[in-house]
């Protein structure tokens, strides 16, 4: 842990542990969860570290209970986090919908595994739709951040807390077993808050003020319609202000890969190999999956000959890429459900496409 704010520590850590370090740095002192592979390092780390700094770790009886512990602590005005994987995240959907409806912030980490059903524990990006389109009822949105390195597991977790508080909304980190288990050095940059710490809406007992409520039920007149438009306005502001992406070696590129998380990380290696051979290839890497970098995808698609979407599923973000640009005839897809594409596979695909494109 960093002792002096000015000292930046370089640390070797697993991605899952870097999430914990980021959360603690951002002032999160409450963690609740239920065991599931491949994210058990997160509750294990939190159960060891939180009690030592006056925080609270509590193992719930289910993910249904977990998300409602989260709701209660969030309603108390505290920063709180949970993590899970596919089946557990599915059980949290009702709670996430209630939290979005009640405008309650929290950070939910999905270290996703393959599905559907019990699926397997292999890394996967099959939860893209559930995360980005939001799997709970009623139509809501939440910022979804996709780290592709241990550094980002740390720093995007800190950002997720700020976004959650800024918009009073749950925010999700969408990782997978590779970025979760991968160990690499990263810089423990100090947390610098971008949001006010006060939460005047929190339920702390009504001393010196009228009672207040946190709820999602709106029965009177057209109150629920008004509430929906209010939430919609918030989502529009996220779309205007919070899009984050990385342009990787797109200078003069004829082929643009669009990939996130682990698929993007592997693509970087393949892009380097291809660039060394003189193939003009680069990547647009969405860091926020919601809000999606639509304008940027369109700009890139107009400039290049081929847009290669790479995902560890059978084509989910692909739909958002298609929604972002009319250049559909340029779009190609490389999908690897339930496995990490190797740099060789991606490199081979780039070469094949380059042969056609040049």
């Amino acid at each position: 842990m960093s002792r002096g704010a000015a000292v930046i520590h370089r640390t070797l850590m697993k991605g899952n542990e870097a999430i914990c370090a980021g959360a603690i740095a951002a002032g999160c002192r409450f963690y609740y969860g239920y065991p599931i592979t491949p994210q058990n390092d997160i509750p294990e780390y939190m159960s060891a570290h939180l009690p030592r700094i006056g925080g609270t770790f509590l193992q719930a009886e289910s993910e249904v209970a977990t998300i409602n512990f989260i709701l209660g602590t969030s309603a108390s005005g505290r920063r709180v986090m949970t993590s899970s994987s596919g089946p557990g995240i599915s059980l949290m959907q009702e709670g996430l919908s209630y939290m979005a409806g009640s405008e309650l912030p929290a950070v939910v980490v999905n270290i996703s595994r393959s599905g559907p059903g019990l699926g397997g524990i292999a890394p996967s990006q099959g939860d893209y739709f559930q995360a980005v389109k939001c799997g709970g009822h009623g139509g809501y949105r939440m910022p979804v951040l996709a780290p592709h390195s241990v550094q980002e597991m740390y720093s995007l977790t800190m950002l997720a807390f700020d976004l959650a508080d800024k918009y009073r909304n749950p925010a999700m980190i969408l990782g997978d077993a590779i970025v979760g288990q991968m160990k690499e050095p990263y810089e423990q940059t100090p947390y610098v808050s971008s949001v006010p710490a006060e939460k005047p809406w929190a339920l702390t007992g009504c001393a010196g003020r009228p009672r207040q409520h946190l709820k999602s039920l709106y029965l009177k007149d057209n109150a629920i319609e008004v509430h929906n438009w209010k939430l919609h306005g918030k989502y529009r502001r996220m779309e205007e202000d919070e899009v984050r992406f990385e342009n990787y070696r797109l200078d003069g590129a004829r082929i643009a890969i669009v990939a996130f998380g682990t698929a993007a990380r592997v693509s970087k290696t393949a892009i380097q190999w291809a660039r060394d051979e003189g193939i003009a290839v680069g990547m647009l890497r969405p860091i926020t999956l919601y809000p999606f970098p639509e304008t940027q995808v369109d700009e890139v698609a107009r400039k290049v000959d081929v847009v290669l979407v790479i995902e560890m599923n059978t084509g989910q973000m692909l739909q958002d890429v298609k929604m972002s640009t009319p250049c559909h005839d340029k779009i190609r897809f490389l999908g690897k459900p339930c496995a990490m594409p190797t740099p060789e596979e991606i490199h081979g695909e780039i070469r094949r496409l380059a042969g056609k494109a040049e």
Binding site: F30, Y32, T56, L58, A60, E61, S62, V64, A65, T66, N68, F69, I70, L71, G72, T73, S74, A75, S76, G77, R78, V80, E94, G95, Y98, S102, L203, T204, G205, C206, A207, G208, R211, Q212, H213, L214, K215, S216, L217
Partner: protein
């Protein structure tokens, strides 16, 4: 914690409790939710807890708790109030935290949450209103529905061969180590109301003394969905309901003997 003694109220026994908001409730005539609300508000006043309390409302006819009880309230998803209360209490151990739940909410969809909150000895208080039916959704069968009772989804009467038996939550929760207090009360006579107040006072006291989980089950009425006049609904509580669901204290921790 200081209590306002009986003297504090003087002779004015029918005064509206400070913590009870002065509005008309939406409850049907003869519904006992209103009585449970009043007892809850009185007890909050008695312990001077209004400004230190966070309530958790459930999904059911009592969802509008926040319109009637003058305290901070969070609304939980159906059945999840004990989990939400856990999150509130863990974050704010010095606040008084209660849930108010119906029988569909607590004894069907939320069974897991209440059992585990009790088993953890979660230092919260649960007001549980058992009217043997799903009031809000139009009187469907609940796990607490009596054998033979006709509801909109047991039109031939509840049959144990198909639907099992009415579940006794006060007894069940009393078996758990983490439970400090579990009692069942009714509010069909003035004497019962006095006992109910005493039970809620004890349940509050358990939380204040950090003894663990406390629950008071109220046998309540739903004249609307039972298809009964209020007076007949009262008689049903006094008769067959209290026969099957006996009133009484099922667990009362004397000191923090669990430590």
């Amino acid at each position: 914690m200081k209590e306002k003694g009986k003297g504090g109220f003087g002779k004015n026994v029918y005064r509206r409790p400070e913590s009870l908001v002065d509005v008309k409730t939406h409850f049907c005539p003869g519904c006992h939710h209103g009585i449970a609300h009043k007892i809850l508000a009185e007890t909050i006043d008695r312990f001077c807890l209004r400004e230190k309390t966070v309530g958790v409302a459930c999904v059911g006819c009592s969802v509008f708790l926040y319109d009637y009880i003058d305290v901070d309230v969070a609304e939980a998803p159906h059945g999840r109030a004990p989990a939400v209360a856990t999150g509130v209490k863990r974050a704010q151990p010095d606040r008084f935290v209660f849930t108010y739940q119906g029988d569909g909410d607590l004894a069907a969809i939320g069974t897991s949450e209440v059992i585990h909150a009790a088993n953890r000895g979660e230092n919260i208080t649960v007001i549980f209103v058992n009217n043997t039916t799903y009031g809000m959704t139009g009187g469907q069968m609940a796990p607490t529905t009596m054998l033979g009772q006709k509801t909109s989804t047991s039109p031939y009467g509840r049959d144990f061969r198909k639907d099992g038996y009415p579940i006794k939550m006060a007894e069940l929760l009393a078996t758990l180590e983490g439970t400090a207090y579990s009692a069942r009360v009714a509010t069909s006579t003035p004497a019962q109301i006095r006992k109910a107040k005493e039970a809620v006072r004890k349940a509050f006291d358990m939380q204040i003394k950090e003894m663990g989980f406390s629950i008071v089950e109220f046998l309540s009425t739903c004249p609307t969905n039972w298809g009964m006049k209020p007076i007949d609904a009262q008689k049903r509580v006094l008769g067959e309901m209290s026969e099957y669901f006996p009133l009484g204290v099922y667990k009362e921790r004397k000191q923090a003997d669990f430590l």
